[in-house]
């Protein structure tokens, strides 16, 4: 049993300690919003927050997150949608949508660190892959999410 906090809820997980967090989420906790894309931390589809930091969950083991706080796309918004999700809807970002949870999690973490990122900072922070090519909308949506976050304060 490994104890972790998932989306604000404490859970005791009966999986192997060396099971990657991605598969714990998808197979043991039925949280399938976090996606498998490459398995080698190259595409970012599996991005979640661990203690507020964006991490690629395919390459983080369950034992490494013992006692830590994990947030997935299912827990990003809480009561209402997160500013990043609002911006994503406003800009109609998703196409196939498979990579978007990873992008949104990476964006939310970026905005916590840099509330008003430049294009260069966005490019450097968001190295995820989208095969539908939604990148231009993503760039706009990141700026929009930054503005929405500021307006909410």
């Amino acid at each position: 049993m490994v104890a972790i906090t998932i989306n604000g809820e404490r859970r005791d997980v009966a999986a192997e300690p060396d099971k990657p967090l991605l598969w714990v989420l998808r197979e043991d906790l039925a949280l399938v919003g976090t996606k498998f894309g490459c398995g080698v931390a190259a595409c970012g589809a599996c991005t979640v927050h661990v203690d507020g930091q964006a991490m690629r969950s395919c390459s983080v083991l369950l034992e490494q997150v013992a006692g830590r706080e994990v947030v997935t796309i299912e827990g990003l918004g809480g009561e209402r949608l997160h500013a990043v999700q609002m911006a994503w809807i406003e800009l109609q970002v998703p196409q196939c949508g498979y990579c978007q949870p990873g992008f949104m999690m990476a964006t939310a973490a970026l905005l916590k660190e840099k509330p008003k990122p430049t294009d260069a900072e966005i490019d450097a922070a968001l190295t995820n892959i989208c095969r539908c090519g939604t990148y231009q909308s993503i760039r706009k949506a990141v700026h929009r999410a930054a503005a929405l976050t500021e307006a909410r304060r």
């Binding site: 197979e27 399938v32 996606k35 080698v40 196409q95 196939c96 978007q100 990148y135 909308s137």
Partner: protein, 744 residues
């Protein structure tokens, strides 16, 4: 030759394929469907085969096409909603069954229809009609979905509207002509509310679906042509959209797969290490060309496959296959003349030698490409009591059902396909390979659902690749005029191999309908040849299919012709398109928006390219820089004429999407084969465009609402590689004739 649907009926009847024959539509109205076609749940009523209304006022539209990001659910629903005068917020879609009215007619015809009259068009129509008879499928591909649905779904909406009005008139005891609908509400023309759609569910239930109701005039459109919000976005930003890999069923097992590393190889056997299967691993299943490990966790199954299980492979006859050797062979075939291998040619009357003539000649190359959809290949299957259910992100439920039934040796009526959201398709998900594996594995664990999923490495190494191709391009021109264009293309046929692989009809010699294309340019003389080698490398439909490489060959070589003639690339294209007003308008729109001819910042080169594909015309201007030894595309201006536009936001999104997909291929994409196996395995060695590579893209939609509707899913892809190649030449003076572009 004027094409009619009637001809296709005959074509279809003559064919002898095994898959779904014997259907065709003499008229669009035959696709209206009845009450029973679209299954109503409690509180719902079907108005015809395409639309239901619920008591709560929800309008449910049947969506027979796969939503793989191209926005098709939104576009199709808008066609029905428009005619019903429905409120957009009330509309949602539901997966349609695999029934006749939903099948994609346009898919089988569009490419042939787009061609110039003549031998090539006749051949393509013949091939298309043959495939139509064989396939007759519910399928998503060829950028056809909206074109296919344009008539039947608007007719269905109009029929539904009429039925609702009739019910409302009875209910209110007024004349139907005195009623109107605004935003899903029926009122009298003097403004008295009569009923909402939801309130008419019971009244309408007793009326029969109406045929032959006229549709709106375009001037009356309220939703078509508007940037309606997409229906799939909310689920996709909250993580609740269900893709194939997200299917979760009670007691579900997972299967990981090792396919024979060498194409055409098969397992000789496997060895389970001493101690037997570990906890959580249930079974090892030998398949014809792969080994499957089944467990209660995909991760456990995959780990066992990677680290424990010993598999012995019989590599078969292709153990020495090498793409570099194959490329040299293709090059030799591209230079050969008068050989029998040539399977399709097109030639206009030759033009006599002219004074001051120059011959221009170059050889172009394009590699194999993987699709690399973000969602890895998967299929979930449940086999109980001789019945099979499949949950699958797929581009053709009809085909999947046919292959599933054949594999399971049961009747097609015993197979149900549930199409989930697709995490990318791009042509890869038209292939039924996962169905064969999933059905075989499900039969080995009867009564238990099993989700088969491939690792990224299996996906990369066992794709159906965009065919590798070589083209020998030749032209004759003087300083004043260009008068002959020749192309001799060598490459496998995706269509031909697909027909053999999927339908077991023997490999067809026909090259793809769109592999060798007569460009729209007015050369007095053309000679086009296709050499179609057969081979063991699996090839398939990669976004824009043949156009993905032939546009690169044609449009870069045209710039070489312009250079030899000492003409500006835009000016030469304009001269050669003087009899093609639609093409010219698109070309000019792109050039104007890009500021063609205006000075650029130093270190930037500009290139232009144009391509007609899938019924649409697209021109792009790329601005390119070299930074730190790497090619950097800074800006792309894209002009598109796709005829009438259903949703401009989706058209723009599809242009951007097509450009990025093509740019990934132009800058990075290359699958190579050594010792019979693909060398690349994952994104680190098959890189793609990311945010840092992303150019600014500006899309101009050139309005031509009276032209035939074209597709938008694919036509954005073909022009980008040549636009970038031409920009690299403008900047560096280096003509790069092989993809992906490499400066050194």
């Amino acid at each position: 030759m004027k094409f009619t649907r009637r001809k296709l009926i005959i074509g279809g009847t003559l064919s002898t394929g095994a898959l779904v024959v014997g259907w065709w539509f003499a008229h669009e109205r035959d696709r209206l469907g009845g009450r029973d076609t679209f299954k109503a749940r409690d509180g719902e009523v079907a108005l015809n085969g395409w639309v239901k209304v619920s008591r709560s006022g929800t309008i449910i539209v049947a969506a027979p096409r796969a939503e793989m990001g191209q926005g098709i659910h939104t576009a199709l629903a808008a066609l029905v909603a428009e005619e019903m005068d429905a409120k957009w917020e009330d509309v949602r879609v539901e997966d349609a069954a695999d029934l006749g009215i939903y099948r994609n007619v346009e898919m089988l015809l569009e490419d042939a229809r787009a061609q110039d009259p003549g031998l090539m068009r006749d051949i393509a129509l013949w091939a298309g009609s043959r495939v139509a008879g064989i396939l007759g499928v519910s399928a998503t591909g060829g950028s056809t979905a909206t074109r296919d649905a344009w008539e039947p779904m608007r007719l269905a909406g109009a029929s539904a509207r009429e039925l609702l009005l009739r019910a409302a008139a009875r209910k209110a005891g007024v004349k139907q002509a005195d009623l109107m609908i605004v935003d899903s509400r029926v009122s009298t023309r003097d403004g008295k509310q009569v009923a909402t759609f939801g309130e008419l569910v019971d009244a309408v239930g007793k009326l029969q679906p109406l045929d032959g109701v006229p549709v709106k005039k375009p001037a009356d459109f309220k939703l078509i042509g508007k940037e309606l919000p997409r229906l799939d976005v909310a689920a996709k930003v909250t993580g609740t959209a269900t893709f194939g890999v997200d299917v979760r069923l009670p007691d579900m097992l997972y299967a990981a797969i090792a396919n024979s590393p060498v194409f055409g190889g098969k397992p000789k056997g496997f060895t389970i290490p001493t101690g037997g299967l570990p906890k959580g691993v249930v079974k090892v299943v030998e398949l014809p060309t792969a080994i499957a490990v089944v467990g209660d966790s995909w991760w456990k199954a995959q780990r066992y496959l990677n680290e424990q299980l010993k598999i012995q492979w019989d590599d078969g006859p292709n153990a020495k296959l090498d793409s570099a050797t194959l490329m040299r062979d293709y090059e030799a075939q591209s230079r050969a003349v008068g050989d029998a291998a040539k399977t399709r040619s097109f030639q206009t009357a030759p033009v006599a030698q002219r004074p001051m003539e120059r011959g221009i000649e170059a050889t172009y190359r394009a590699p194999y490409l993987a699709h690399a959809t973000m969602e890895p290949m998967n299929c979930t299957a449940l086999f109980v009591d001789g019945r099979l259910r499949l949950w699958m992100p797929n581009q053709s439920p009809s085909l999947m059902r046919y292959v599933a039934a054949k594999t399971a040796e049961i009747d097609q009526a015993q197979v149900t396909i549930h199409t989930t959201y697709l995490g990318g398709g791009f042509g890869r998900r038209a292939e039924p390979d996962l169905v064969r594996q999933a059905v075989a594995i499900a039969k080995a664990v009867p009564g238990k659902p099993v989700q088969v999923m491939w690792s990224r490495e299996e996906d990369m190494r066992h794709d159906f690749y965009r065919p590798m191709a070589v083209a020998r391009m030749q032209a004759r021109a003087s300083k004043e005029a260009a008068w002959e264009w020749r192309c001799r293309l060598v490459g496998q046929s995706a269509t031909g191999q697909f027909i053999d692989r999927v339908l077991r009809l023997g490999e067809q010699g026909d090259p793809d309908g769109n592999s060798v294309e007569r460009p729209p340019y007015g050369f007095p003389s053309y000679r086009l040849e296709a050499v179609v080698p057969k081979g063991p490398v699996p090839v398939g439909f990669w976004r824009s299919v043949g156009h993905s490489h032939t546009a690169f060959f044609d449009e870069c070589f045209l710039d070489e012709v312009a250079l030899a003639m000492n003409k500006d690339p835009l000016a030469l294209r304009r001269e050669l398109l003087k009899d093609q007003p639609r093409h010219l308008a698109v070309l000019d729109a792109a050039a104007k928006a890009a500021g063609w001819g205006t000075p650029l910042a130093s270190g930037i080169g500009r290139g232009i390219a144009l391509r007609q594909s899938f019924g649409s015309i697209v021109a792009q201007v790329a601005e390119v820089a070299i930074e730190g030894g790497a090619i950097r595309v800074k800006r792309v201006v894209c002009a598109v004429d796709c005829g009438r536009v259903v949703n401009p936001a989706i058209v723009r999104a599809q242009m951007e999407s097509g450009i990025v997909y093509g740019l990934s291929a132009a800058l990075y994409g290359e699958i190579t084969i050594k010792n019979g196996a693909v060398e690349q395995g994952n994104f680190p060695d098959y890189d793609v465009v990311r945010l840092a590579d992303m150019p600014v893209i500006e899309t101009v939609i050139v309005g031509s609402p009276d032209s035939p509707m074209g597709g938008v899913g694919e036509p954005g892809t073909p022009p980008i590689a040549p636009a970038v190649g031409n920009a690299i030449f403008a900047l560096t003076g280096k003509r790069l004739r092989s993809l992906p572009f490499k400066l050194a």
